[in-house]
């Protein structure tokens, strides 16, 4: 019997599982599909807007309302979560939890984030930077001239101008193919011969001192692709994330899944958790709908990291009733007017979720734990609108590490 069953294979589920397994626990991770990391941009956001653009995420997190996950977690937990991401993905990520940076998006806006993949680091906006944004005629998800035009309308944090121009090159991912996905290009760029061809096409078009922005396609399996292209071009190169599923998110997913397996986590993928058994205020087992039958997975503790509305872990019916769909847990943030016409991006509904105490144990709004061995982490937690705050990865990491540590302390 495993010590802990983790439900969910997104950032929080994988990180909690790795931390527990590395501490010696037997961990089984149940997931219905691939986790949400594939849909991420590959960056680690901590807090980008509160609601104004944030420069120092830890500092800004300290003045969030008491119901926000960061307030429940405390800043030490946020620091610990980010530090753990750096420990696990040291080679891939650069940055510090004390400071946000701004990265160009595919449409040329500037997005605050905290830790960035090494393949994006050269794109961080600085005063006087000169971008050359490069698109491919055969890749429909990136329009470099649109991106460049919008970038030029903005300024760097120092107030200095940003210079940017867009270039389109005619280079199919596969000979003769008129339309390729970002992943198709990434697979091509995994080959060093294709990189040489790309560099030969691009280099004559570049001007001295330009920082080259390419769509996020610089290698899927080959981690050295970005560095190699920089050498070939003799220019700093960065990736601009494209609409999901994005290659940087896929890389992050693969890296963490590999670490989980190496740590001995048993991953059971492909089926939804559909039920559970309890006794004496504890969860005894959860049932996964595997082929032909529901298989029960018993454990001492359970980490619930399924994501929120987007994964179906939280659901609202046509009468406006919101439920947590596996355990029927009490929800926080409920009330009248969950959805109003006033401010579409800022609905109270989006803050509804599962509440936890400082140990990440699931609690009802009165602070009582319905089950003494059920912990929650990541997107299911109440109190944050992750996509507008740009706080998803930070909450996931901090809560996953906090949940794992309190389980280890209790064990």
């Amino acid at each position: 019997m495993p010590d802990t069953v983790v439900i969910g294979a997104g950032l929080s589920g994988l990180v909690a599982a790795i931390r527990l397994a590395r501490a010696g626990q037997a961990v089984t991770l149940l997931t219905k599909g691939l986790g949400g990391l594939q849909l991420s941009q590959g960056t680690i956001d901590v807090l980008g807007y509160a609601p104004q653009r944030v420069e120092a995420p830890l500092e800004a997190a300290a003045s969030l309302p008491a119901s926000h996950p960061y307030s429940v977690l405390g800043s030490a937990a946020v620091t610990a979560g980010i530090a753990y991401a750096q420990e696990l993905l040291g080679g891939h990520l650069v940055g510090t939890v004390d400071r946000n940076v701004l990265l160009p998006t595919a449409v040329g806006s500037l997005r605050p984030t905290c830790l960035v993949p090494t393949s994006m680091a050269a794109g961080v906006v600085t005063g006087g930077i000169r971008y050359a944004l490069v698109g491919f005629r055969q890749l429909k998800d990136f329009y470099p001239k649109l991106c460049a035009g919008n970038l030029e309308r903005q300024t760097a944090p120092s107030g200095e101008a940003i210079s940017a121009r867009g270039l389109v090159i005619d280079l199919p991912a596969v000979e003769g193919m008129a339309d390729s996905s970002a992943l198709g290009y990434a697979r091509a760029i995994d080959g060093s011969a294709y990189r040489a061809k790309l560099a030969a096409t691009l280099k004559p078009l570049l001007e001295d001192g330009e920082v080259v922005g390419l769509p996020a396609i610089l290698g899927y399996r080959d981690a050295a692709a970005h560095r190699h292209l920089e050498e070939l071009l003799d220019h700093a190169v960065f990736e601009v994330p494209l609409p999901p599923p994005g290659v940087p998110g896929m890389r992050l997913n693969e890296a963490l899944t590999t670490l989980a397996k190496q740590a001995g986590v048993r991953i059971v993928a492909g089926a939804k958790v559909v039920g559970f058994e309890t006794s004496g205020g504890k969860i005894l087992s959860v049932g996964q709908a595997t082929a032909g039958r529901v298989r029960q997975y018993a454990a001492d503790t359970f980490v619930y990291a399924p994501g929120g509305f987007e994964s179906g872990a939280l659901s609202m019916d046509s009468y406006g009733t919101v439920t947590e769909t596996i355990f029927g847990l009490p929800l926080h943030g409920l009330g009248p007017d969950l959805v109003t016409a006033d401010d579409p991006a800022n609905q109270a509904l989006f803050r509804v979720g599962v509440g936890v105490d400082a140990r990440m144990r699931v609690v009802d709004p009165a602070g009582t734990a319905p089950y003494s061995n059920l912990y929650a982490a990541g997107g299911v937690l109440a109190g944050a609108i992750r996509w507008s705050e740009k706080s998803g990865e930070g909450i996931a990491l901090a809560s996953a590490v906090a949940a794992a540590d309190s389980i280890l302390k209790g064990a």
Binding site: K32, G33, G292
Partner: protein, 418 residues
């Protein structure tokens, strides 16, 4: 085209499609779309095309889907993409089923024809001019991996051996060997039975026919339904409260879910049999997890074993129990292939127009096995083993062979006998 009241029509029009949020995660994981432009990917031919089908198939690149099922496995929204596409492909082929697909989907026929003539059959299959003729006339690629026939079937072995006199304190089990273990991989069937008997089970092997999976994956649904129903009845002739152990992942998966989810068989008898069916590694690992599998006297084996988890095992959603089970053998290090599919996908890679695609799909698996093997590799599914052996020349066995050896039951080390 299917009649409007058929199961196929229901599936083609079912509302579960609305769960698809078009995230395209399935597209990123599809092993076929990754290597050929001839297949546009599971979402495009499936949830996307579905809205235009009205019972007919609209995107004929669907024929290049290998039915490996990875799309369904990775879908974070629970859309049955592979099942949907299997049904749509059956609709597409319904009026003009190629003779080749009719032939290769009848494993029992092949087995029955080849067994009495095993040396001749093997010689013919190993004879290039004969294979070129078969490719031209029937459409089976000249280089595709074909099974090796044996002069003795598993059923023949069971009939000829003296009854095991070992005590059976753990009670009885039913063994579902599938066609491959009966005709082509007799050794795997024997080893599975011997391992279970060594553990103290009495193994019952009821008379059994083909589960119909090859027919199903070639779109021949009606015959497949009658075959799986017949098999279910045969398995139910043994006591009905016993677990059914399968060592063929694809045939086990047919009983567990595919006959229900793809063929639409809803007989309570099938669901009952499917619910009792366990993959052999799943069964043994469950025993270990319950503290019922004593590994203290297992013989050490200092060996790195490259292991490939077949698509049909993933489709059962039980994880990769063979990995944990093999690692219980002292000295064994398991290296996972890290790829979803070896390319064969049952009979897909046999077809002359699909062979090159199948080999490209399997390349990461082959590369990993060639790079890491110490003389032998492991994989749970027979057709995958044949494909891997053919592509890598590395002998590839069912994981049970290593457990058999660790229990001291094998006369020869696994790498020299298959």
């Amino acid at each position: 085209m299917f009649s409007p009241d058929s199961h196929e029509h229901d599936l083609l029009n079912r509302a579960s499609l609305d769960h698809c949020v078009k995230c395209t995660i399935c597209e990123t994981q599809c092993p076929v779309a990754a290597v050929t432009p001839l297949f546009s990917g599971p979402k495009y031919v499936g949830p996307q095309a579905e809205r235009f089908r009205h019972g007919e198939s609209v995107d004929h690149s669907l024929d290049y889907c290998s039915s490996c099922g990875i799309c369904t496995h990775v879908c974070p929204q629970g859309v049955h993409i592979a099942e949907l596409n299997s049904v749509a492909r059956a609709a597409m082929k319904a009026d003009h089923m190629p003779l080749r697909d009719q032939l290769i989907s009848r494993t029992t026929l092949m087995g029955m024809a080849m067994t009495p003539l095993a040396p001749v059959a093997n010689a013919v299959l190993g004879f290039k001019p004969a294979r070129i003729a078969v490719e031209k006339v029937v459409g089976i690629h000249r280089n595709a991996a074909m099974p090796t026939a044996h002069t003795r079937t598993l059923v023949g072995w069971l009939r000829s051996r003296t009854d095991p006199k070992n005590p059976a304190p753990r009670g009885k089990l039913i063994f579902f060997h599938g066609c491959a273990q009966n005709y082509f991989e007799v050794e795997t069937g024997i080893k599975t039975i011997e391992v279970l008997e060594h553990l103290g089970f009495e193994v019952i092997v009821p008379k059994q026919g083909c589960c119909g999976l090859p027919l199903q994956s070639n779109g021949i649904f009606d015959t497949a339904r009658s075959w799986v129903r017949k098999l279910v009845a045969q398995l139910r002739e043994a006591p009905q409260d016993l677990p059914i152990i399968a060592c063929s992942t694809s045939c086990g998966g047919m009983l567990k879910h595919e006959a229900n989810e793809i063929l639409g068989v809803t007989d309570p008898e099938l669901l009952e049999v499917g619910g009792r069916t366990r993959d052999i590694c799943e069964f043994l690992l469950d025993m270990y997890d319950r503290g019922e599998l004593d590994t203290s006297d297992w013989l050490p084996n200092e060996l790195t074993i490259p292991y490939h988890a077949p698509c049909q095992l993933r489709g059962q959603n039980i994880g990769t129990p063979a990995v944990q089970l093999l690692e219980l053998v002292p000295g064994v290090t398991v290296v996972e292939s890290g790829a979803y599919c070896c390319g064969i996908a049952g009979t897909y890679g046999l077809k002359k127009e699909k062979y090159d695609i199948a080999m490209k799909v399997g390349k990461p698996v082959f590369d990993k096995i060639v790079e890491t093997n110490e003389g032998v590799a492991a994989c749970d599914s027979e057709t995958c083993r044949w494909q891997i052996e053919q592509a890598t020349s590395v002998p590839t066995v069912h994981p049970i062979a290593f457990i058999h050896q660790a229990m001291g039951l094998s006369k020869l080390p696994v790498s020299t006998g298959s």
